[in-house]
């Protein structure tokens, strides 16, 4: 979902209609594992996209090239990937007609009178292409480019910021063979040995939402139902949205049509400190309102071990893609986890996770905070 909202970008701010947003969202959901070609067809006439990229203003009388450009440059082929300025201009003509804007937030309809029915020459082919005709043309004449582009974007998102050309080529071939069905490609991607290849594990830096939401989900917390804020309650989900915004990732409101640049751009000393502070809120909420569940979750994760080193390592490893660099790194975590409990309770093994729950809860809090501060925690 995150991938597609960053691919077929629209900005909530710009269209500002709940019905459009819902429509967009639903479309992403339905198509995320469906057929890419059909996805492209649908998204181009969705009201959110028509408004955002000015499709709604693109008429035969006053063509607007915005969507045509982005359709090729960002959505299907990739920058300068075998198309020309002329292709864009002609494609814009083919896209005309979706201008039936009656009132704010109402559906946008096709008006044939506003469509330019003339001959257009695109990719060296001449015909009176219309919307569907254009889409067909792209997927016929530039199928290889499209397949390569989409597969390398998927690769970058899920695996590594530097694409491995051979693998991408393999995936692209599958994509073509399966007529642009996404599921088979993703299946291969996720199951492949390559995906799990150590060289790539942890190659991607999490965006803020992944960092925080991932943390919460991984620890099994019902964030949708969680209410935080004591005297000024807010749904955790909403708070998370705003927390993201604070870090520059307002969901469905990216900076520009290219989406967020991602990866290393997420991280600077301010944003990193922000992430820590925000995760602290959630850790605190766990302790305050879900302490018993938190402890049970840890108990299950570690098979009820009472060895502080084992517990620490299990919990740390749960949240990071690869093991920490050294023993000392884990030992620092163990120190945090042991907190104020005097040494002898560990030595004679009288300490365990069923001990005074206030204290054990506190220990887990310390460990979670320690984990959230690890650089490795920001990696996927």
């Amino acid at each position: 979902m995150l991938f597609w909202s960053n691919h077929f970008v629209t900005r909530v701010e710009d269209y500002n209609c709940p019905s459009y947003a819902y429509d967009y969202f639903r479309m992403l959901e339905e198509n995320a594992l469906g057929n890419f070609r059909s996805f492209v067809e649908q998204i181009g006439t969705s009201p959110s996209m028509l408004v955002y990229l000015n499709g709604v203003q693109n008429t035969r009388f006053q063509p607007n090239e915005n969507y045509a450009r982005e359709l090729l440059e960002l959505f299907t082929l990739g920058r300068d990937n075998n198309y020309t300025q002329n292709d864009i201009t002609e494609a814009a003509r083919a896209l005309t007609g979706w201008n039936g804007f009656t009132e704010a937030c109402a559906p946008i309809t096709y008006i044939s009178d506003f469509h330019d029915p003339g001959q257009k020459t695109i990719f060296g082919q001449t015909d009176n292409f219309d919307y569907n005709g254009l889409i067909d043309l792209i997927f016929e004449q530039r199928s290889r480019e499209a397949a390569n582009y989409i597969c390398s974007k998927l690769y970058n998102f899920y695996i590594n910021r530097e694409a491995n050309e051979d693998i991408v080529a393999e995936l692209a071939q599958v994509f073509l063979d399966k007529n642009f069905e996404l599921a088979p490609v993703l299946r291969i991607l996720f199951k492949s040995e390559h995906f799990f290849d150590e060289a790539h594990l942890g190659g991607v830096i999490k965006s803020p939402i992944e960092s925080m939401y991932g943390f919460i989900k991984e620890s099994g917390f019902p964030v949708e139902e969680t209410v935080i804020g004591g005297a000024n309650p807010t749904s955790a989900f909403v708070a998370l949205y705003f927390a993201n915004a604070e870090q520059g990732q307002a969901l469905f409101d990216p900076v520009d049509v290219a989406g967020w640049l991602g990866d290393r751009d997420w991280i600077n000393s301010t944003s990193l400190t922000n992430r820590w502070n925000i995760i602290d809120f959630f850790i605190f909420d766990f302790f305050q309102n879900h302490r018993d569940d938190l402890i049970v979750w840890v108990q299950e994760l570690v098979d009820n071990s009472n060895d502080p080193y084992f517990i620490t390592k299990r919990v740390i490893d749960y949240f990071i893609p690869l093991e920490l660099q050294s023993e000392q790194d884990y030992n620092n975590g163990v120190e945090a986890f042991k907190w104020e409990v005097p040494e002898n309770y560990f030595e004679d093994e009288s300490w365990n996770l069923d001990w005074d729950q206030e204290i054990v809860g506190g220990q887990i809090v310390f460990l979670l905070r320690f984990i959230s501060r690890l650089p490795e925690f920001q990696m996927a």
């Binding site: 190659g203 991280i267 301010t270 820590w276 605190f284 120190e335 945090a336 004679d348 204290i359």
Partner: protein
């Protein structure tokens, strides 16, 4: 494997929670925490976690006040040595004044006279503290006897908090006594932190000692989990090592993330600088020795940190305590003596005062496992030439007049020691001291003296009362009081120093004010700071919009 203590000899009912066998009751005894105060001490609930001394990125800039850190009484250092687990005072400072009662209560584990070193007619110390004798003989060591407090709590956690917060046993306080002192010193810490860490703690994570509570910053101390970690930082000048990372995308990404994380850790550079400038002239052994070696080197290297806390673990001697306790005594004595010998090489010993502290002592009567349960009063040891003499201070606790739980009644409130140190070592004025400790505590004759007649520069900072208050279902207001007409500016800034809103800018007559923060919901989770500026002085605190 748990050993079960059974106090079969005593007619007294053993206080529930004082013995290991009581398990969870052991810790729940008088455990009157509030979760809130616990989390404040962690630095979480205010939203400004400062584990390992991470500071707001733009916080570092020198204020005129910080420049005053040279000269006067501000190069004085206080080193606190934590004896974690509850030190057995009676086997540390053996009561010659009532030796028979001592032996009768501890037929197995009491010290024979031949295993002690006599200090006075009434007291001897454990022989394993032998290495301290030169300090004693040169008038650089004192012991305060019978240190404790009313209704001494027997839970490690609760009592540690009480000792750190310097509160009464029934009071829940989420700031530490040193944290409150630092609140006074650095009212604008969040946006104007000093160049050197205010305090360095080795293995004290979670202690509220340097917590400023509602009155200030969540935690002033740079806390590392082990001497190794501090050593790493001091050697490399970084929090995270950038060498030796695997050669692949993962390694590159990790390197990038570590680099950024390193920039958030503001003090690494200055620690490295001072570490490089300093040198250890003595060989240290043991973990405590390692910790003190680092402290000595940083002091000698010129780090302007005034407070250090080091930790010696293992004092919770419920069973077979003799060799354990003796070893700890040996470690303590050796490390402290090395420490002062090292400092002396550059004449730094005179400006360093060290003192031990422990959450409680141990029971007079031994248990059936050749150990002791949690007790109450115990001695505090102080070290350094600044003591100007040796001696045992305070009345001797009466071994025959025990409290209803069979424990020693204290004769000196631990806060008297703190009050004396604040007034006669850090040279704060009496009123300030009593405010920090919430009331007046009798000063002790520890031999400490203030150098000059003038008080410390911290007294000159005008104090204003300010805090965040919540009304109407959690709406935040900044509340403050002015004593007279002032030109005052109040702004809200983000953790990165970005100005968000000005709430007040202009002259106001004396009185009480409440400013409605009124920020958009989008800031609900952002870490925010408010800053009040009056003349040249600024005051800042965190502004949590989520009231927890």
């Amino acid at each position: 494997m748990c050993t079960h203590d059974q106090d079969i000899k005593s007619n007294l009912e053993v206080k529930k929670g004082s013995e290991m066998a009581h398990g969870i009751a052991h810790e729940k005894a008088h455990n009157k925490w509030s979760r809130r105060s616990f989390l404040r001490g962690l630095g979480i609930s205010g939203g400004m976690g400062m584990m390992l001394g991470h500071l707001p990125v733009n916080a570092l800039s020198s204020s005129p006040l910080n420049m005053l850190l040279d000269g006067g009484n501000t190069d004085r250092v206080l080193v606190m040595i934590r004896l974690k687990g509850g030190n057995d005072g009676l086997n540390t400072l053996i009561p010659l004044y009532d030796f028979d009662t001592y032996r009768n209560n501890r037929p197995q584990i009491s010290k024979q006279v031949g295993d002690t070193i006599q200090l006075t007619n009434e007291h001897a110390i454990n022989q394993n503290l032998e290495r301290l004798m030169p300090l004693w003989n040169n008038g650089q060591m004192k012991i305060v006897n019978g240190v404790g407090y009313e209704n001494h709590n027997l839970s490690h956690f609760r009592s540690s908090d009480i000792i750190a917060s310097a509160s009464d046993a029934e009071q829940i306080e989420d700031s530490g006594w040193l944290g409150r002192h630092l609140n006074d010193c650095f009212p604008d810490f969040l946006t104007n932190a000093p160049e050197h860490p205010s305090a360095v703690q080795i293995a004290g994570g979670g202690s509220i000692l340097f917590g400023g509570g509602e009155g200030g910053v969540n935690n002033y101390a740079l806390t590392v989990s082990s001497p190794d970690q501090l050593f790493e930082i001091a050697q490399t000048g970084q929090l995270y090592n950038l060498d030796g990372l695997p050669e692949c995308t993962y390694g590159e990404q990790l390197g990038f993330l570590r680099t950024v994380a390193n920039t958030t850790f503001q003090y690494a550079e200055v620690i490295k600088e001072r570490f490089d400038e300093g040198v250890n002239g003595v060989n240290y052994t043991t973990s405590l020795g390692q910790q003190l070696a680092l402290v000595a080197r940083l002091i000698k290297g010129g780090l302007r940190t005034q407070f250090y806390v080091v930790t010696l673990n293992g004092f919770d001697t419920h069973a077979n305590q003799e060799s354990d306790h003796d070893n700890l005594m040996n470690t303590l004595g050796t490390a402290v003596s090395n420490f002062y010998a090292d400092l002396k090489l550059e004449g730094k010993d005179e400006s360093v005062l060290a003192m031990t502290f422990s959450e409680f002592g141990r029971r007079v009567q031994e248990n059936a496992s050749r150990g002791t349960g949690h007790g109450t009063a115990s001695p505090t040891m102080l070290f350094g030439p600044s003591l100007n003499g040796n001696g045992i201070i305070g009345d001797n606790p009466d071994l025959n007049d025990l409290d209803s739980n069979g424990n020693l009644k204290f004769t000196t409130d631990f806060r008297s020691i703190y009050a004396t140190v604040l007034e006669q070592w850090l040279c704060l004025d009496a009123q300030q001291v009593d405010a920090i400790l919430f009331r007046n505590f009798a000063r002790l004759e520890l031999g400490l003296r203030c150098q000059t007649v003038s008080a410390s520069p911290w007294v000159d900072i005008p104090k204003i009362k300010h805090e965040v208050r919540y009304h109407d279902h959690g709406r935040a207001f900044i509340y403050y009081e002015l004593e007279r007409t002032q030109y005052i500016k109040v702004v809200i800034i983000s953790i990165s120093g970005k100005h968000l809103k000005t709430l007040q800018n202009g002259s106001q007559p004396g009185g009480q004010y409440a400013l409605d923060v009124n920020l958009d919901r989008q800031f609900v989770m952002a870490p925010l700071i408010y800053r009040i500026s009056i003349n040249d002085q600024s005051y800042s605190k965190t502004l949590p919009l989520l009231k927890i």
